[in-house]
């Protein structure tokens, strides 16, 4: 998973990351290919041009990567604009050195100025590319919404839960202890840095802890049907995908009813996909607004961030039920 590799916009890429090096190699080679294509008259000439060009570019490229890998830590300590200036200086220096010690002795290959222009162009393209990529991947964009999600854990839930615990302290102190433990676990996760994927088993446990607290308040009104015997417990999912949806289900599906309602949660593996199906009773009349859409949008966005088009979330509203269907690619957690 490369979600956190070079996650920040406005910073140079990590030149010691193999993925980054590979990207640089591929892009520069691609540019050579294109340059050769423009210059060449026919297919044979193209190959010749390419070999010629590569012979000139590759030494500079490899030397640059070597120097950058060495200078990586130092570059990253600088502020971004200075780092870019230094980077360009390094590139021009490397080009000059390689020119004098290597290429100069080669055939008649033109003046140093041409190499400088070429190097400058390639460097700018790469810096631009990594900046854009950093922005696209950056969870900083969704950080604000992530925080909004965490704040969205309804204050109503917190205060009602504490109230429920207080009611237990005199009559059933042991149970009160368990509820407080569940509550603190829940809030530990809510307040953690939730950008990394985690095993689905953890999310299921968290959701169960949450439901135990709600059960205390709502008693038999809250009925939960888990169907997770086929759930791949090692599948990786973004944290806080299931729990907020179940919280929605309780808030919109169970709390407005006085008779019992069933929330059903089914998780199973379907070849290389993980399917999560959540269903709760729902009445359109007397619906309480707020929160719901935001949580869904937030989850959708985080799924996209982690899995791109491979994940999806769909909701279906019928006359008396509300369904959420999530599909994720099956990614195994590394064995511990």
């Amino acid at each position: 998973m490369s979600i956190n590799q070079n996650a920040n916009a406005g910073a140079l890429p990590n030149f010691r990351n193999l993925g980054i090096l590979l990207r640089i190699l591929v892009i520069v080679s691609g540019m050579c290919l294109a340059a050769a294509l423009v210059n060449a008259a026919g297919p044979r000439a193209w190959v010749e041009q390419l070999i010629d060009l590569s012979a000139q570019v590759q030494p500079i490229l490899l030397a640059s990567l070597l120097v950058l890998a060495v200078a990586n830590t130092w570059l990253h300590r600088m502020r971004y604009p200075y780092a870019i200036a230094v980077l360009i200086a390094i590139e021009l220096a490397v080009t000059s050195v390689v020119y004098w010690f290597g290429l100069g002795a080669f055939r008649g290959v033109g003046v140093l100025g041409r190499y400088w222009v070429f190097t400058l162009l390639v460097t700018c393209v790469l810096v631009g590319y990594f900046d854009l990529r950093g922005r696209a991947l950056s969870p900083a964009l969704s950080e604000a919404r992530l925080q909004a999600l965490q704040a969205r854990i309804r204050p109503h839930f917190l205060f009602n839960s504490i109230n429920a615990v207080l009611s237990l302290i005199r009559q059933d102190p042991r149970r009160a202890e368990h509820v407080l433990e569940d509550l603190s676990d829940l809030f530990r996760v809510l307040m953690a840095d939730n950008r990394q994927l985690g095993p689905i088993a953890g999310e299921i446990e968290l959701t169960k802890q949450y439901l135990r607290i709600e059960q205390l308040r709502l008693g038999e009104r809250l009925q939960v049907e888990w169907d997770i015997t086929d759930a791949p417990s090692d599948a990786l999912i973004p944290p806080l995908v299931l729990q907020p949806l179940v919280e929605n289900a309780v808030y919109h599906g169970i709390e407005p009813r006085s008779d019992p309602g069933v929330i059903s949660i089914r998780i199973h593996r379907d070849r290389d996909q993980v399917q999560i199906l959540l269903c709760n009773p729902y009445r359109q009349e007397g619906e309480r607004h707020g929160g719901n859409r935001m949580a869904l949008a937030n989850i959708r966005e985080r799924l996209a961030l982690h899995f791109d088009a491979e994940a999806s979330i769909r909701t279906t509203v019928t006359a008396d039920s509300y369904r959420v269907h999530i599909v994720l690619p099956y990614l195994k957690a590394p064995a511990r």
């Binding site: 109503h156 205060f159 009602n160 009611s167 205390l216 008693g219 407005p256």
Partner: protein
């Protein structure tokens, strides 16, 4: 000061632990003031049904409850001849609480503190009674029921069962398929609260859209033709005034 009869408190909350908590705190309060627990109800309807018998003079009323919320329950309570004092309880509702402060409506935040509860109960006799217009202001959604006082009991009429309202000289008649009731509420206010569900067919009449079977022509005493509403399940036909004639076309149910 009036003679100190013990306070009789009715606890209304849909969550059992919340009721237990209040009961514990009330028994703590009972050590320091004359106080009895009149009963517990897990929803608004039960509370209203229990009230005349349990003789509560204070109701601790949760705001967020399924089906009928606390603010509506409090409105129906006001139809009683001697409504009990109401202290609302709520976990969190920043918007509503501001309005509560403005109108000096008593409330306790959950988790409830013993000190706050004791204080609220000590002052409860001095508090001015709740006013229906204030409660209406606090509750933004329409009520689910109307209430009438029948021989000292609160009778609830589900709004969904009401076929029409018809203004008489002093009262408004509320008609369901089975019965009719009188209410002192004004037709204009009812129209405003239940906008969408009822349609005005005449200066003195609001009809539930769902209860309309169709329209037909009738001849009045003066020999002029006019439209009348034919109702489902009710024989009575309601005149459509000339000014409201466009609704015949709008609803488009000619018989």
């Amino acid at each position: 000061m009036t003679a100190k009869l013990p306070l009789r408190v009715l606890i209304v909350d849909d969550e059992a632990p919340a009721r237990n908590r209040v009961r514990d705190l009330l028994s703590d309060c009972a050590l320091k003031m004359p106080l009895e627990i009149a009963g517990e109800a897990q929803n608004g309807k039960r509370a209203l049904a229990m009230l005349p018998e349990c003789e509560a003079n204070v109701v601790l009323l949760d705001i967020r409850m399924p089906e009928m919320d606390g603010l509506e329950v409090a409105q129906h309570l006001q139809t009683l001849d001697a409504p009990p004092a109401v202290i609302f309880t709520t976990a969190y509702d920043a918007y509503a609480l501001k309005a509560f402060e403005v109108h000096a409506v008593d409330y306790l935040l959950k988790p409830i503190r013993l000190g706050r509860l004791f204080e609220a109960l000590s002052h409860v006799r001095a508090v001015t009674p709740l006013r229906v217009d204030v409660l209406r202001k606090l509750k933004r959604e329409a009520r689910t029921h109307l209430s009438v006082n029948e021989r000292g009991r609160i009778h609830l009429i589900p709004v969904a069962e009401i076929a029409f309202f018809k203004a008489e000289v002093k009262y408004v008649t509320v008609r369901t398929a089975e019965r009719e009731f009188l209410t002192e509420e004004s037709l204009a206010r009812l129209e405003q609260e239940f906008l969408g569900r009822f349609v005005r067919v005449h200066r003195n009449c609001l009809v539930a859209r769902e209860a309309i079977e169709g329209f037909e022509r009738a001849t009045g005493d003066d020999g002029d033709g006019h439209w009348v509403v034919v109702m489902k399940n009710i024989a009575e036909k309601l005149a459509v005034s000339r000014r409201q004639q466009q609704i015949v076309r709008e609803l488009g149910k000619l018989l």
